[in-house]
């Protein structure tokens, strides 16, 4: 070995250091031992030892979503890599920048069904933005730099770098420096100015405009959120957001209509249905948003701003597509709008708002409070009130509690709401909260959970204890896979097949067995005190909040229905759908 040569593993760690990586979420195994050796007592890079590789990826996602920086994962070959697949698929659908290093059997053994061999590049091809198999320690540094470049630019996403064990051991002198100049991957940031001009002119003719915003605004960075606020407030347009985009526009602003889509507000969905010009900003017309495609916003002309050309016209035909990064496009949009001295028809806008406000008065998130049992919506209202003004980040699991959290919590800033939108992964919220807490050690990080979802990654209680991550888990315990039960009630005549979460653990004792604090609350009159205790108790806290078992999450656009065919809370309980079993 010449004096400058280092082992592949040392080169890998140095590359991560050069890329500014401060934390890795991972789990060791035979095929990554050289990397773990190079990490041993490392001064700059902290390693968080998770208890399941899926959790490592979700933690990296939480880290990424709350900071805008890529999350980094390190797992072993075979089962380590396959356990990470759910997390990668989650990051893929939600466009989250994650770089996942996986160990692989030595190059010569690839293809021989060696111990703990899996075709990781093959398996992850469909759930990553890109992936690499490194064949020589001479290439490993450049590939890692390229992986970070691909993960974080354009439409972000997860990237896997599969590294055979011999590549980690063999020496090389190649340490990549400087930016990546890719030959074929060249994502465009700036939107076409002619297209933006057309968009400005179209919006200027609107009598019933709406901004439909999504996770792309958040991915674009804080500047995009600022520009969105500026533009909406300058023009006076109503704004609605997808689940992924919450926080890009402040929830408490009067222009904000709340979330749209399947469990969105009455005012937001009706405004989408009735508008004449829709500006879709960093969202992708997902089926949870559109409802029945042929009845989606039938009277509107549509503008679509998206960094990914393949999102344009994929589901809904748009009149003016603008391919580009949200912040870049909005900046030019704003400039053109001002330069053209555009202004919306004031009278028309006034009557549009009158229409919207009438729908707002319908008070679609209303629910019947009870004295003897905690309503899940009430629990979230109290959680919101008691955490208001604090430096707080929310994550969720998947189910009714997730939708209620989206409806009842308020988000004033981007990057403070982390939920599995595209893949809908139960077990996401708790590990994601660990990642958020790593990035924001002093902040209050709360996972709003269901009693079923939390059990999918409950083992991470061990991780938060080991690494002093004071995450709070707030379980809305309805003893049901509530969202499944709700669909069974609505679509399968109340046959609750396998949706009761029987044999629940004693969550308080469970928390205590790990050394965490467990709290339980059943009586509405104890709720505030319990929430305050959760917030004020140092270290990880798990709250078993017993709620009404059979509450349903409304409003709801039944699967396959149109935006103006919502079910509202006071029409619920007995209403049956003619459609029978829903397709999606």
């Amino acid at each position: 070995m010449s004096s400058k040569a280092k082992s592949g593993a040392e080169i890998i760690i140095k590359s991560l250091e050069d890329l500014g990586v401060e934390v890795i979420f991972g789990y060791p195994g035979g095929a990554v031992l050289p990397i773990y050796d190079a990490l041993h007592n490392h001064k700059k890079i902290k390693h968080i030892l998770v208890r399941h590789e899926q959790a490592a990826v979700h933690a990296a996602e939480g880290y990424a979503r709350s900071t805008g920086k890529p999350g980094v994962v390190l797992v072993t070959s075979g089962p380590g890599a396959t356990n990470a697949v759910t997390g990668l698929a989650d990051a893929m659908l939600d466009s989250i920048p994650v770089v996942c290093l996986t160990g692989q059997v030595p190059v010569q053994l690839i293809g021989s069904d060696a111990f703990q061999e899996s075709d990781t590049v093959g398996i992850t091809r469909h759930c990553t933005k890109h992936n690499y198999l490194v064949r020589s320690s001479d290439d490993v540094s450049a590939i890692i730099h390229e992986a970070f470049h691909v993960a974080t630019t354009g439409r972000p996403g997860p990237v896997v770098v599969d590294i055979p064990k011999d590549v980690q051991i063999l020496p090389s002198e190649n340490q990549h420096k400087g930016p990546i100049k890719h030959r074929s991957y060249l994502p465009a940031l700036k939107g076409d100015e002619e297209a933006i001009k057309k968009a400005v002119e179209l919006l200027a003719t609107a009598k019933k405009p709406i901004f439909y915003t999504g996770g792309g605004v958040i991915n674009s960075g804080p500047k995009a959120s600022k520009l969105l606020r500026k533009l909406a407030q300058l023009i006076g347009t109503p704004v609605t957001s997808t689940l992924m985009g919450l926080g890009a526009y402040p929830s408490t602003d009067p222009l904000f209509l709340g979330m749209l889509g399947m469990h969105g507000t009455y005012e937001a969905n009706n405004a989408m249905h009735d508008c004449d010009v829709m500006v879709c900003i960093g969202a992708r017309f997902d089926d949870r948003i559109t409802g029945r495609i042929d009845a989606f916003s039938p009277k509107s002309k549509k503008i679509h701003i998206d960094i990914d050309r393949s999102s344009i016209n994929k589901i809904i035909h748009v009149d003016v597509p603008v391919v580009g990064d949200v912040a870049h496009v909005l900046e030019v949009f704003l400039k053109f709008w001002k330069k053209g001295r555009h202004k919306l028809d004031g009278e028309a806008l006034k009557s549009w708002w009158a229409e919207i406000n009438l729908n707002r008065d319908r008070n679609c998130l209303d629910y019947a409070k009870k004295d003897d049992v905690i309503m899940p919506q009430y629990a979230l209202e109290r959680l919101q009130t008691l955490t208001k003004g604090k430096d707080v980040y929310y994550t969720t699991e998947v189910g009714q509690h997730q939708m209620w959290a989206a409806q009842f919590l308020q988000f004033e800033e981007p990057n403070r709401w982390m939920t599995s939108g595209g893949l809908g992964t139960m077990g996401y919220g708790f590990p994601a909260a660990m990642g958020v807490q790593m990035a924001h050690p002093k902040a209050l990080v709360i996972d709003v959970a269901g009693e079923a979802s939390i059990q999918m990654n409950i083992q991470e209680l061990s991780t938060v204890m080991q690494h002093d991550l004071p995450v709070k888990i707030f379980i809305l315990n309805n003893e049901y896979m509530g969202m499944v039960r709700q669909w069974q009630e609505l679509n399968h005549e109340g046959r609750y097949s396998n949706s009761y979460t029987a044999s629940l653990p004693d969550f308080v004792k469970l928390a205590e067995s790990y050394g965490a604090t467990g709290l339980k609350v059943e009586d509405p009159s104890d709720l505030d005190a319990t929430i305050i205790e959760m917030i004020e108790t140092p270290g990880p806290v798990l709250v078993d909040c017993r709620v009404e078992k059979l509450a349903n999450c409304f409003p709801m656009i039944p699967s396959g229905a149109a935006h103006n065919e919502m079910i509202l809370p006071d029409e619920n309980e007995t209403k049956k759908f003619e459609g029978g079993a829903a397709l999606v």
């Binding site: 091809r125 890109h130 198999l133 691909v150 890719h182 074929s184 990914d308 393949s310």
Partner: protein, 170 residues
Amino acid sequence: MINTPQKERHTISIIVDNEAGVLARVIGLFAGRGYNIEHLTVAPVDSAGTESRITVVTVGTPKIIEQIKAQLDRLVPIHRVGDLTEEGPSVERELALVKVSGSNEQRLEALRVAEAFRAKRVDSTGTSFVFEVTGKTEKIKAFIHLMEELGLVEVVRTGVAALKRGKDAL
């Protein structure tokens, strides 16, 4: 839905880095998203062997064709995606090897048809011929169809290779 849009056949050219797995990425995209592949050809096209050209003939509604091109464009090792059907006149050729075996009368007739199609006889035995025929897909199909009557044994086709007419490259 009423008015289902007409399906169209498009020839799509893709220039890619000639690296391991790139074909799997392209095919996987078609399979994973339920797109159709009618023909597929791939080979390195520069002398250094660093770039390959993939030609795919696919069928779909205009919306699907647009999606296919946009999705292909997203793949990291893909340099350029071109739609030869849309971007004006192109030449398309396919090569087939066609083996026939039959009696005297059939052999004579097979040779006559081959001549009419300008097919080359690249192998002959006392009881069989292998013809090499090139041309547009319709011509190849017609040739094979005629040979069915004349003792067709087996066929292999390269799939479509296509280039834009005129001086410009993709």
